[in-house]
Symmetry: C2
Subunit: 278 residues, 2 copies
């Protein structure tokens, strides 16, 4: 950690009665920043606002959030800023929202060692050993703090010496990776699961969809089945930190980096520079 703040003040702790701890009752954003500038901040704050609405947590003042994220982003050349918003301290024992809770803002700055221009070796992935729960409609795509399934999944990936595992629900639909969204090219079309079936509706996912549209590529947001994996012509993992990460192997099957990689990545990089978030 390079630094941490709670409700705008430097802090290393939070109250033991925070509903974020007790129930995972809150949201988070993982924001990549370079040269003091948070990337895609408008997208992160828009998703946070959608999540706050889904959980009936009052959205914190956006100008204040921007200032706090900027403060964290300034601590090193490349920073990952984790922004957590919890419902705040519990007003009574038990699950129920009492109303009148004061949301808590937690901002933590971590060193972003690899930075935005790092080209990782293509990712090695495989299907996760265990199905994940289908997210209920009220929480689908929301970046909330209930992340145990992803903790177990990414730990499985590490154990199997994979970069990521592909998570399937019990109807054999692939919803994405443990920490990433998934894009495939199949039949000449760029496909990604619909936001409503994603564990997290990624900000980078949205940027890739926009980049593909600008390039005039055929794009579809639709369910990806396990069978689709055998017909893949190219594939990527995406998130705010890794950007657009080509998949080089799905289980035993190697996959070449697709011809669309460079133009898509160029578009995303231009968007990261061009979007006016300040």
């Amino acid at each position: 950690m390079l630094g941490a703040w709670v409700d705008g003040s430097v802090a290393a702790t939070i109250g033991i009665d925070d509903r974020g701890l007790h129930y995972g009752d809150g949201l988070f954003e993982t924001i990549a920043a370079s040269a003091g500038r948070p990337r895609f901040l408008a997208g992160h704050l828009a998703r946070l606002a959608r999540g706050c609405a889904a959980l009936s947590i009052p959205m914190p003042d956006e100008a204040r959030l921007r200032a706090e994220v900027a403060q964290a982003a300034a601590l090193a050349p490349h920073v990952i800023v984790k922004l957590i918003v919890t419902r705040g301290a519990a007003r009574a024992r038990g699950f129920a929202i009492e109303g009148g809770e004061a949301p808590r803002r937690i901002v933590i700055a971590y060193a972003w060692l690899e930075g935005p221009d790092h080209a990782a070796a293509p990712a090695r992935v495989a299907r996760a050993e265990r199905p994940v729960a289908r997210p209920p409609a009220a929480l689908a795509g929301v970046k909330h703090l209930n992340r145990l399934e992803q903790v177990l999944a990414l730990t499985e990936a590490r154990r199997r010496a994979l970069d990521e595992v592909l998570l399937c629900t019990d109807d054999d639909r692939i919803v994405g990776g443990s920490m990433t969204n998934l894009f495939l090219v199949t039949g000449g079309e760029l496909v990604t699961p619909p936001a409503a079936s994603c564990l997290v509706a990624g900000v980078m996912r949205g940027e890739v969809l926009r980049a593909a549209a600008r390039l005039g590529l055929a794009v579809a947001e639709r369910a990806i089945s396990v069978a689709d994996l055998s017909r893949v012509e190219g594939a990527w993992l995406t998130n705010a930190r890794v950007g657009l990460w080509p998949i080089g192997a799905i289980a035993d099957r190697s996959l070449a980096v697709h011809a669309w990689h460079s133009p898509l990545q160029r578009q995303v990089r231009q968007a990261a520079l061009g979007v006016q978030d300040a």
Copy 2:
């Protein structure tokens, strides 16, 4: 709060880097205590141990946990002791378990206002408006800290002026209440959903099953469908705090307190007094 301890020391805060906050990466127990004596403590600690095994969190020393719970239980005539065990401080950014994390024990004492002998009016319940996710096998029954669905469900119950909502998965199976397990009598048989489909495998659920066995009642752990509700002859909600709470109304349908209520309750109360946990 009557008092709170972290790792055995009086404390009001935890570190901002705790994985319990970031991912809900931990477990909890809600233990009712009377006259300084935690009820069914062996059952709570056994479930905690199962949960630790499921999440690969080292189970804290049991003698130490017993001493810390006892300290909390002594603060008032009737106390709800919340025991949280998280994986502890993160050793790196990101979901993956790095290994070597030091689990954190959090003990909070709350006043148990109604105490164990309070007879609440029969509960008014109805089916929840939204389906809940089917718990994945690895987490079914585990009392972990990912509780957002139950937060939303119990808040719905409050809004609808119900005591509880019955949660169904998308295949119309009832898995229990938001904060309770469910027992029904139908066809002369006491039925409760299997532990493997429960959001939490309740300690009181286990006590009721044992009480029913001692009484020689016909008992089945099997799926309860929404259709089963129309054939109910009696029903209860259970948890460590409310004990065995008769259901008096399911939506518009009134339900009399079943003849098995008094003998079951007597058995559970005797078990609470008789079990040697000290």
